[in-house]
Amino acid sequence: MFGLDKKHTNLLLLVAALTMLAPFILNPFPEGSGMAQFNAGYPDLMQRFVIFGIFAIGFNILFGLTGYLSFGHAAFLGVGSYAAMWMMKLLTMNVIPAIAVSIVVAGLFSLLVGWISLRRSGIYFSILTLAFAQMSYALAYSVLTPITGGETGLQPKLQDPRILDGALEAGASPRANLFGLEMTSSFEWSVGSWLFTFNVGYYVAAVAMLLSFYMAIRIFNSPFGMMLRAIKSNQQRMNYTGLNSKPYTLAAFVVSGMYAGLAGGLMVAMDTQVGAERMFWTASGEVVLMTILGGAGTLIGPVLGAGMIKYMENIMSKINETILHQWFAFLPDGIENLLVAMVYPFIGKGWHLTLGLIFMLVVIFLPGGLVEGGQRIARLFKRKKPSSDTPDGKTTPAE
């Protein structure tokens, strides 16, 4: 189906099912219960899962396939966001032109940065991309303030021209929409004490993610994708086989830059705000960590890594001491306080510590990232069967 083989069709269908049913899957605990804290099925976080998933999928096309480690991809995300925001300010609050322009602008910017940075390889390439991103950040935060809003960023304002949109009703504020359907609107469905939210913005982003994922599968399985893996494997042999590795790498760079631009455009479409810190080096580092954490060079890994980091950031950081006391309230006071004291450094304001520990544990025990963890578990269950699946090592991208 869709021009994919059976294995990849199944993968795509699985991912499609997971994203479409995410409002259920991410809200497994009933409202009001102690575990409801761990529910992630609210619009903002679901949107972030898929948007950062797109960002990581795109980054993986460059890093996972060619092995070129860009440390400046957040710049493309940021540039895409600014472009989308300006479309919303000047043209229309409809998200389609905003997203389209963000992809194009990020693609052009990545063409420029890639064309220069790809003259070098290895760490020299990484530092060149880092330098471009840091310059973008520093300028956006300071001297480019008239265009970027600087510290306070950009938001749609009432007085923006928006030449395609009619005048706003009195008292209404500009809202991102898809032909009138607002990104912030939601259906809510309550089943027993469960509550599920189906947000328009999320489904728009989810469809974009599925398209991105589908394109990534096609690229992985195409001759182009194989050439990219060949670049990572042996650039010398590549050149002596009559293949020009430069345009291949540049194409991969631009494609991943466009993915970043799409993610940036979607971020603005979901939440109409853009700030310069979106381009800071830590943001570039985050997508590197997402990809490696999930499993670089695999299809689903980057999405898992993105989900893991965003979940930690948004759920773990919100657990405070009071909530801990509620959890352990059934225990005798002494034990309750002891447990709270033991757990507290790792959650709430200590969520960074847990994140750091997870990075270390994953990379020490699961060299292939979360995907390898999944494969090991799968292998445990399959062990009984006769060796139906030959371990294909790294020859084909694992799922």
Binding site: L45, F187, E188, S190, S193, T272, G275, E277, K349
Partner: protein
């Protein structure tokens, strides 16, 4: 099912009461077009969202803000000694929660990044059903979250944010700021500086290269130049700068005799430390002692800069050594609970929480439009800053501004600043239109 129940909590509780087989039809939520408002509390509790920096460089400031919020919740629910509720001129609050509903709260981490702050605020609104968001310790975050709250239809009570933009060009109908701003700092400082250092001064500005820095430099320049000072130079420094030596070294050579550091947080701690290291304060220029001025002080910054702050003028929103009844009550209440005096960030956050609760009581509703109306042009006293006005045109509080200087002989690690003068509100008031921006209409959300 009535339309006002269109919130998570509302739905759940109604569902439970109705006991209707546990299944309700999907509800279509739209941002407007309903008579209710976002997250209207229907049960016996109301949830507030405290969105403060818990990681990153301002984590300590955020921790202090959170302490203040927890104290405010305790007082609102009738616990503790009641704190500022006893001295507050409005007596609408009873100590029985807000409108009889027990106050609950959720916390989040802004990381001092606008994206993270908005993510955290959205999760409070979308997941936890918060009806008001408050907190923050930078203007970038405040403006970003304020815009979000406007869109989502909840009230935003800004924490520590000093840029003119928050209630200037980026003001929003759903956003309110108690803290003072750059303009007020300049207006309050200039006369004191003229009194102490004379009117024949040459100032050299180092300015953080972003919006807050620009507005602060402009405010201080305008008000000192009006006093007769000359501005020799103004140099912008990158936010990410940690070592300011190359900016400070040329200061003496320029012939300036005052250095104004328009820096905040880590930037200010480092630039002040560097300036003192260069021995600038021991120098004589133009026959006068060289002086350093820091327009915005906070206790945590003073703590970071240590002995370097001694004798250096600046402005703050509030200081625990104030002797009015309100301040004394707050210091007593906070100090008893936590063992040390509150910072100005803690004070403004505590006051904002109480002001919100009071406005709800007076309005008789959590509806953001009703609350906004109750806060607009609200005059009050007894909150530690003297008589205060929440101006309706830009949702900015107007009150006295403190001019402080670094204390020569501190008795403890909290006793770092002393009050030089309480600049009366009349001197720092400005016309609401000068910063542009449009307040817009209040948005009650769903």
């Amino acid at each position: 099912m009535s339309k006002t129940n269109l919130t998570r909590r509302g739905l759940i509780k109604t569902g439970a009461v109705a006991g209707a087989a546990g299944l309700t039809l999907p509800t279509y939520l739209r941002a407007d077009g309903h008579s209710g408002f976002t997250n209207a509390p229907t049960g016996s509790t109301v949830t507030l969202g405290f969105n403060v920096p818990q990681s990153g460089p301002y984590a300590d400031e955020g921790a202090d803000e959170l302490r203040a919020y927890e104290l405010a919740v305790e007082h609102l629910n009738g616990g503790g000694d009641g704190g500022l509720m006893n001295t507050f001129s409005s007596k609408a609050l009873q100590g029985n929660g807000i409108l009889g509903k027990k106050v609950e709260y959720v916390t989040g981490d802004t990381q001092t990044k606008s994206d993270a702050a908005r993510a955290s605020a959205r999760s409070m609104i979308e997941k936890d059903g918060a009806v008001m968001i408050t907190g923050g310790s930078s203007s970038g975050v405040a403006v970003a979250v304020q815009a979000l709250c406007q869109e989502a239809g909840v009230i935003f009570m800004a924490g520590l944010t000093h840029s003119n933009d928050t209630t200037g060009k980026d003001k929003k109908a759903n956003g309110f700021r108690h803290f003072f701003n750059s303009y007020m700092s300049g207006a309050a400082l200039a006369p004191i500086l003229a009194n102490n250092y004379g009117t024949e001064r040459k100032a050299y500005h180092l300015t953080a290269d972003y919006n807050w820095g620009y507005t602060t430099e402009e405010a201080v320049r305008n008000s000192t130049e009006a006093m007769g000072w000359e501005t020799v130079a103004a140099v912008k420094t990158p936010l990410t700068q940690t070592d300011f030596s190359s900016y400070i070294a040329p200061v003496l050579q320029s012939g300036a005799d005052v250095l104004v550091l328009n820096h905040y947080g880590g930037n200010m701690v480092n630039s002040l430390t560097n300036a003192v290291q260069f021995g600038l304060r021991e120098k004589q220029v133009n026959g006068k002692n060289f002086e350093i001025v820091v327009p915005l002080y906070s206790r945590l910054m003073a703590k970071g800069a240590g002995a370097n702050v001694k004798g250096i003028f600046g402005s703050t929103n509030w200081h625990w050594s104030l002797q009015d009844e309100g301040s004394k009550a707050f210091v007593q209440s906070f100090g008893t609970k936590y063992g040390f005096p509150p910072s100005q960030a803690a004070h403004t956050c505590y006051v904002q929480a109480l002001l919100y609760a009071d406005a709800v009581e007076r309005a008789g509703s959590f509806n953001p439009c009703a609350v906004g109306e109750a806060l607009s042009d609200f005059q009050f006293d007894g909150m530690g800053n003297g008589p205060t006005l929440y101006r309706g045109e830009d949702h900015q509080c107007f009150k006295d501004v403190l001019v402080v200087k670094g204390k020569e002989n501190p008795t403890s690690e909290f006793d770092l600043l002393e009050i030089v003068e309480i600049t009366p509100v009349s001197q720092v008031t400005y016309d609401a239109s000068i910063f542009g921006g449009e307040l817009g209409a209040c948005n009650p959300g769903a």
